[in-house]
Subunit: 455 residues, 2 copies
């Protein structure tokens, strides 16, 4: 049986015999008995297995090393030790050996840098076991939130011939023999008959679904070929991009707030052991931080007001806050501390935001919003979308975009177009917030960064 | 409110006023009244809205065309017409116009080929509305099945430097300026410092998670650069690849059978309107086909036995069945008819299967399985994985594979390796089975095929 099912219903199994299959995480052997720290990976918790020289293969078992796979039959008993219960083994069978060059030995705590080098083994450590289970549960929480509310899950195309943001370095996808190209590329001969790239966002395509299903969301991989080696940049990451018709910026913020609280609460409820582990070993106060988020009321404030507060603050900034400009990390931090909680900063200067955002009547700002969260900075960004056909074309012309190639996008404004909004959340950014693990390379099973594409 | 919430609780709303926002799907106007066929995309069903010349803007509303977005306030009443209920409008506001060049007019049923040309509008038709909602609900059912049973959802890397199957045409991913390459390519200068491709399968990486978490599954996009233009091939498609430690081929089949039945039943229960639609307009008998699958017992039979049955059949085959060889579509069809239900064909000839499959003791076959389903052919394929380090190396040598580059994969057999198995299911193949829609281009929102990369 799975250790998860055993431990979650432990009272039903006291004094009963069960069979478990899993791995030895630690092993202490004495003359006439031994202790095995057992895990099968189905739950963060381990089980202590006690064996004695009554085992037929006692001498063999005494020698088994960390990492071995075993099958064990034994009785679950209440324990006098640190644990509340343990297993008294009746039979232990080694089903997979593990030599002593196994990199995950019990002595010393391996650094995260070292574990990145053996990424294929790191989910066997307590830290990464917890991280990637939270990744799985948080992903499910996101699906559950949207599906329970009637949203349609939209698989945005990964290979694309259009660049959503009109910015950002993209990866090219090709089947051309690139060592044989001489000068100009004849894309008619490429697989799709045109130049193709990996998507940087599924938003524009998601809008087509919002105007058919009213409520839709994407959850899939997106790509940026930025040559930046920071703790928060990866070349391949997963994004959630909901898109809702008949929804203005205020309603959009309602959904952002409700969804985030739902997901955080779901993880608190369903990954309690993992959160405790992070709270003890990764980020002191993590649980409290997450619990406070769930009960807090998010502030909503205009960008212009934020600049005013920053300017009035008695602080020597590294970057001076300015009206009409973006804000820096230090400003994000200050503003969440100022309001003692999450802050929606809305109505941003038009010139620093994307072409598709709804132009406000002041002629200077757009109906965009960023969510700033204590201890994490920007966690989500959203906007009401420009639904005026002519204004959208005019804006694309100003930005020298090829709007004719995007007639389908423009036509959404022509054929029963309506107020609609959406937002994007980087899944790994959420995971960094949920786990306290501060490097994006440690919340992705096999991260891709410049110069790095192992496995 | 959402039409979905209204219609699912219709009895609570009879004789009450509600506000709806959505689109006009059809419109018949008479002298003093009119009928609007209304949909907001949150449910397959439409609502009939009746208005009369008591509306302040009656003349304006009489003129509104198909595709317009409207906001309507009205009373839900029991109806004498074909519908059980309808709305008597008190206010109708046009919030988004739609001109008469809108391609989705009520007259005539547009062909699927025509709709592919306007893929961004097709989810507004009844057929595609149903297809992509089933896609969404089926995706969720898959997540729910695995999450409820403690599987960890694993995001396999999309960009990869290793080719799982050792076969199959791959897409190359690069940031090199390919028009400036002269002869040999210096991959040190490419983004990842080596040649990189789009993944064809996440299985090998998923095995690393199975040996840490016991139970894992992938659900993500995979890619094949095959130049085939058939109804069942797409260059970009989604795959589900579960992988389970301490699981042999028999248990693997148990899981395949249980999962498939769960997902089909979930869709029957949660997309009843959509299944009825397909049953009426796409594939007669679809509901019955799906219901029979849920209650049937899947047959398990060796490949060798299947060949024997095929040879003994009194049929003139296009392709003669042979021991040691693959089977053709006509054979798949015959064998599911022979057993009147789904059939697991297991223990396949080693030479026609992948290197990682567990070699049986007969020296000729591997512990592989394909699931054949009436009316769909092969729906899933799985295998027990070779867990013998030396046998695996020997097999890779025979196939001239660079096994040294895959030391991490081999090491899974060395460090606490154990019996483990898994399977793969093409998500679109499942959708074709669930909907009766027989072209893969019609079950993917924005399909990618040779020469085709729109949106």
């Amino acid at each position: 049986m799975d250790l998860r099912d055993l431990l979650k219903n432990i009272e039903d199994y006291i004094d009963k015999d069960v069979t478990l299959e899993g791995w030895i995480r630690n092993h202490r052997d004495q003359k006439t008995f031994g202790f095995i720290d057992f895990s099968d990976g189905t739950i963060q918790e381990h089980l202590q297995i006690v064996y004695t020289d009554s085992l037929a293969n006692f001498k063999e078992i005494q020698k088994v090393l960390i990492g071995c796979a075993i099958r064990v039959v034994g009785t679950i008993v209440k324990s006098n030790g640190k644990q509340d219960y343990e297993m008294q083994a009746k039979e232990i069978e080694v089903v997979g050996e593990c030599p002593d060059d196994y990199p995950l030995q019990a002595k010393g705590r391996p650094t995260r840098e070292f574990l990145r080098e053996i990424a294929y083994l790191r989910p066997r450590t307590n830290l990464f076991q917890a991280v990637f289970r939270v990744r799985s549960v948080a992903a499910y929480a996101i699906h559950k939130y949207f599906q329970d509310r009637g949203y349609v899950y939209f698989h945005a195309p990964i290979i694309t011939a259009s660049d959503c943001e009109g910015a950002g370095e993209m990866f090219q996808v090709t089947t051309l023999p690139i060592d044989k190209i001489k000068g100009e590329v004849d894309y008619k001969k490429d697989f799709f008959g045109k130049m193709a790239n990996l998507t940087v966002s599924g938003q524009l395509e998601a809008e087509t679904f919002a105007l058919a299903y009213k409520k839709t969301y994407t959850f899939g991989p997106t790509f940026r070929a930025e040559n930046s080696n920071t703790k928060t940049h990866a070349s391949e990451f997963w994004m959630i991009e909901p898109e809702i018709a008949f929804c203005d910026l205020e309603k959009d913020m309602d959904i952002m707030e409700e969804m985030l609280k739902y997901v955080v609460k779901y993880v608190l409820d369903n990954c309690s052991l993992e959160i405790n582990f992070f709270d003890s070993f990764v980020e002191k106060g993590l649980r409290d931080k997450l619990e406070r988020l769930v009960t807090s009321k998010f502030v909503r404030i205009d960008h212009e007001e934020v600049i005013k507060i920053l300017k009035e603050a008695n602080i020597k900034w590294e970057f001076e806050p300015e009206y009409g400009e973006d804000i820096a990390k230090e400003h994000e931090k200050y503003i969440t501390e100022y309001f003692k909680g999450p802050v929606f900063i809305k109505n941003w200067p038009k010139d620093i935001k994307a072409f598709y955002m709804k132009q406000n009547e002041d002629g200077k700002t757009v109906a965009a919003v960023d969510l700033e969260v204590p201890g994490a900075g920007e966690l989500m960004g959203g906007s009401q979308r420009e639904d005026d056909y002519n204004k959208l074309i005019k804006r694309m012309e100003e930005l020298k975009m090829d709007y004719k190639a995007m007639d389908w996008y423009l036509n959404l404004r022509k054929y029963g177009g309506t107020v609609h909004s959406g937002f994007g959340m980087g899944f790994e950014r959420l995971l960094i917030y949920l786990t306290g693990v501060d490097n994006i390379r440690d919340v992705i099973p096999y991260p891709r960064t410049p110069g790095n594409c192992e496995y």
